[in-house]
């Protein structure tokens, strides 16, 4: 494997950790990261701080490009994998370039999950996953006073904090399935509402959004089951879903994400998946779980990298590990940190 070309699809925390792990353990392996976004590896959980003006775009960056050059890791940004042929061991980029690989780690992350009934309003809603999204928020926030947030995942709460610091009026429609795949129990939901309200957020119970209309450059009209709101920005936050559509006809086992065993191996030899795009088999519960959060992604990336080089490490799937997200224990105390 050491002499082979190892390709990593994705440029998030799992992908980067996998690449660095490969390099640390195999100095002569040729390593290529192929990332769809045009940005160098960044810390997505800090995007709200960037929007608040407390961090610069450089602060988001984990490592400068020169770091990867020094490590001998080829980083290809803004390039999308559109197909993988596991028999030929080739992948195809959207500009019809064919790359051969010996080993492959799929760590292409997730994309924003937008519930079906909201997808029709896609053009009128903002989400927050990338620096490009953040730039849109910054641009639009400079012109508006109020934001309606629907959903309620971790990002939305961090963003709310940022919006309050910018003295924006925040209206929150908390949705019970917003913290997908972790469900919010009623007790937690009530506590979140309480905490938000205490901070000056208007938490409303408004049912489903039925219509969104742009009234002016600075104003949207949002019609729900029981009320009509006039806001500057509508933000949707329903967690992430694995971004694996391009693998649909590749022969991989895919459910929500790429199905892998506890060693993160797919059904193909020397092909692994890690991070938000993977569904990892849990031998105890005999079912698959989906990783969320920055630290989990890093842990999985490391395991994938080591196993690709011949290791047999299983992932740490203990609850205290997989629910420890961005410095917060998700289902016990995360909301109290808000």
């Amino acid at each position: 494997m050491a002499q082979e070309h190892c390709v990593i699809i994705g440029n998030g925390p799992a992908a980067n950790q996998a690449a660095l792990t490969l390099r640390e353990n195999s100095s002569d392996t040729r390593i290529t990261i192929v990332g769809q976004e045009p940005f160098p590896h960044y810390r997505p959980h800090l995007l709200p701080e960037y929007i608040a003006g407390r961090l610069s775009q450089d602060d988001l960056c984990v490592n400068p490009p020169a770091f990867y050059k020094e490590c001998g890791i080829k980083v290809r940004l803004g390039q999308r994998v559109v197909h993988v042929d596991f028999n030929k061991r080739e992948l195809v980029l959207d500009h019809k370039e064919v790359i051969s690989f010996g080993g492959l780690i799929i760590a292409c992350g997730g994309k924003q999950r937008i519930p079906e009934h909201l997808q029709v309003f896609d053009d009128l809603m903002l989400t927050l996953k990338t620096p490009a999204d953040a730039a849109q928020w910054i641009e639009q926030l400079s012109q508006v006073d109020s934001v309606l947030i629907v959903g309620g995942d971790l990002t939305s709460l961090s963003l709310t904090k940022a919006l309050l610091s910018l003295e924006k009026r925040v209206i929150f429609m908390l949705n019970e399935d917003s913290f997908w795949p972790v469900p919010l129990c009623n007790e937690l939901s009530e506590k979140i509402k309480h905490m938000l309200t205490e901070r000056g957020v208007e938490v409303i119970k408004a049912g489903r959004i039925k219509r969104v209309t742009r009234v002016s450059d600075r104003s949207l009209e949002v019609e729900t089951d029981n009320k009509t709101l006039r806001v500057g920005i509508l933000g949707a936050f329903f967690g992430m879903t694995p971004n694996v559509k391009f693998l649909a006809r590749s022969g991989l086992d895919i459910e929500r994400g790429v199905l892998v065993d506890e060693y993160l191996q797919t059904r193909f030899d020397l092909v692994y998946a890690a991070g938000d795009c993977a569904q990892v088999y849990h031998p105890t519960i005999k079912d698959y779980w989906v990783s969320i959060g920055y630290q989990n992604a890093i842990n999985l990336g490391k395991v994938a990298g080591l196993n690709l080089l011949g290791g047999m490490l299983s992932v740490d799937a203990s609850p205290e590990s997989i629910f420890f997200i961005d410095g917060i224990i998700v289902n016990t105390s995360w909301w109290t940190e808000f």
């Binding site: 290809r76 803004g78 195809v92 019809k96 370039e97 064919v98 490009a132």
Partner: protein, 591 residues
């Protein structure tokens, strides 16, 4: 208004429309009020055999040299464009075909070569061009449309140039190109809307003094016509052929003639014949052709017959590198040929000088009755600059033959020894005078004479005459703050632009550095050069030849060895290499 200084490259295979696309960029940006300096590199073969690259430096200040780094690369052929990757700046913008006809392996892909900082704009050139105009022929225009949209360049600038270029080829061709351009522009607006640069390529100098885009070759051709050229004799050779093409287009309508000769020997022979008869004539060639001419050039020296010879230097020796630039004919121009044969050699350093030195060459040739060699080079000949249309005054264009007084009839001596070395020259048809065109050593009356005394006398006369031409030749031009300098950089020809850029940068960094441009290669202004050298701790002479031919010519003047910086890469001298050497010399001098 932000400072604009951007280098745009178009790269493709011969036949991809690369040169046309680069030319359109130059014209549009020139019309838009920018300064433009552009240079094309293409293979010696006609089609399908090699890489074409156009480099256009666009700025809102005067531009004297090409930049080392490229900010925008438009790839019409990814495999060829891979070679340009080492020259890309950080955060360069790359326009490429995202849907080529065939799948491309990683080792042939442009994108695989790029650093992650590169900003990619992939778009299906072929598909867009075909959908809009029914043919892929306009894919280069599609790429330009995308470039214009992303860089915020007004599309009407490009449309106007497209109309100008293609109108004469018929409505169908024009519309194909316009539609292809518009489709690329619209595609970029639609697909890269969040990446459009705001007002990037719009100049505040629109509507300023009218400028024209002119290549060195065109400037030489125009100058020759303005100077009253009547006869052009030549044999095609890269990179001089465009001069003949220009003259073939324009000269006949003015009553002149362009005649393609059987070779370069015949060409220079015909030029000498024309001048012998009193008619202004010119030839243009390159190194291999110039080598063939040298014997007859010295015939002009010996017989004291004017001639204007353009040597458009290219890489050598022999047929060498036909489409690459070099400055390696200086020795040949100054010393080439049998015997002690002094002649005048001038070397312009930019397009405007190509014009003015060509005009001047005609007067010098007539007045000093000698071949005048104008040393250009591939880079200077082919690069285009936008500048106010150069014009020469009547006095610059007027004839300068030194004719004998009528009173000398009967006692006229064609090669009379004079203080200046210039002997009045009678033209055939002047009644009562004798005419001579002998290549043999001769007496003052033109009679062959090989005696030691006569040869000494006449050799000295011919040298005195050429030395005396210094008074009519422009003095070296200094670019410095005066006073003592740590490093003085001396240069000639097209390399001087790179020198000036490097010297300016060094001075802006606080270094005591100056530049000296020498355009009069032979004879040269020794005292002026010496005065400059005496004020400099180190003298650096960058040249595009292996041994340092100017350094060989003038190096002896300095009190210590001059520092030579020589390259034979076939490409223009990069300013950064000169700057690096300057900084090194300053540092060493300070230690």
């Amino acid at each position: 208004m932000p400072v604009v200084d951007v280098t745009v490259e178009v790269c493709g295979m011969a036949g991809d429309g690369t040169i046309a696309a680069g030319g359109l960029i130059n014209e549009a940006m020139s019309d838009g009020g920018f300064s433009v300096l552009a240079f094309d590199s293409y293979p010696a073969e006609i089609r399908g055999f090699g890489r074409c690259v156009t480099r256009s430096r666009i700025g809102n200040e005067e531009i004297v040299a090409l930049e080392d780094k490229t900010h925008v690369l438009i790839s019409l052929n990814d495999e060829q464009a891979r070679s340009r990757v080492p020259f890309l700046s950080e955060n360069s913008m790359i326009f490429f075909d995202s849907n080529p006809a065939v799948y491309v392996r990683e080792d042939k892909s442009l994108v695989s070569e790029l650093d992650p900082e590169a900003i990619l704009f992939g778009m299906p050139f072929n598909d867009i061009a075909t959908a809009s105009a029914g043919t892929t022929r306009g894919r280069n225009l599609t790429a330009l449309g995308c470039f214009a949209a992303i860089c915020g360049a007004p599309p009407d600038l490009f449309r106007a140039v497209i109309i100008r270029k293609f109108k004469s080829k018929g409505e169908k061709v024009l519309q194909t190109n316009l539609r292809s351009f518009d489709a690329g522009f619209d595609y970029a607006l639609e697909n890269f809307s969040n990446r459009i640069k705001s007002i990037f390529l719009i100049s505040d100098k629109v509507g300023g003094p009218k400028k024209v885009l002119l290549s060195g070759n065109q400037a030489i051709g125009k100058a020759a016509i303005d100077a009253g050229l009547k006869l052009y004799f030549g044999y095609p050779i890269t990179p001089a052929t465009p001069i003949m093409e220009y003259l073939a287009t324009h000269l006949p309508a003015l009553g002149g003639r362009v005649i393609q000769m059987e070779d370069e020997i015949a060409s220079i022979g015909a030029v000498l014949g024309s001048y012998y008869a009193g008619t202004r004539a010119m030839t243009a060639t390159s190194g291999p052709g110039f080598a063939l001419m040298t014997e007859l050039i010295t015939h002009g020296v010996m017989a004291e017959i004017p001639a204007v010879i353009i040597n458009a230097q290219r890489g050598g020796p022999s047929t060498g590198l036909p489409t690459k630039t070099e400055q390696s004919d200086l020795h040949a121009a100054v010393f080439g040929g049998p015997g002690d044969s002094p002649r005048i050699v001038v070397a312009p350093s930019n397009v405007a000088e190509c014009y003015h030195y060509t005009v001047k060459s005609f007067q010098l040739a007539e007045k000093y009755q000698t071949p005048v060699i104008l040393l250009a080079d591939f880079y200077l000949d082919n690069r285009v600059e936008n500048l106010p249309m150069p014009e020469a005054s009547e006095s610059e264009k007027s004839g300068s033959n030194v004719l004998p007084e009528n009173s000398l009839k009967g006692s006229y001596r064609r090669y009379e020894i004079t203080e200046s070395g210039i002997s009045p020259r009678a033209l055939p048809g002047m009644e009562g005078f004798i005419f001579s065109a002998t290549g043999l050593e001769h007496t003052q009356t033109g009679v062959p004479d090989y005696s030691p005394e006569n040869h000494m006398l006449m050799t000295e006369k011919r040298h005195r005459k050429i030395t005396g031409a210094l008074g009519d030749l422009p003095s070296p031009e200094e670019f410095s703050s005066g006073g003592k300098l740590d490093v003085g950089v001396i240069g000639w020809g097209s390399t001087f632009g790179s020198i000036l850029e490097a010297v300016t940068t060094a001075r802006n960094r606080g270094l005591l550095v100056g530049g000296l441009k020498i355009t009069s290669i032979f004879p040269f202004h020794e005292s002026v050069i010496r005065a400059f050298m005496n004020r400099c701790s180190e003298i650096l002479i960058p040249e595009l030849n292996y041994v340092g031919q100017l350094a060989n010519l003038i190096g002896y003047i300095h009190s210590k060895d001059v520092v030579r910086l020589n390259r034979v890469t076939g490409t223009p001298f990069p300013p950064s290499a000169i700057l690096e050497k300057i900084e090194y010399l300053v540092q060493v001098g300070n230690e």
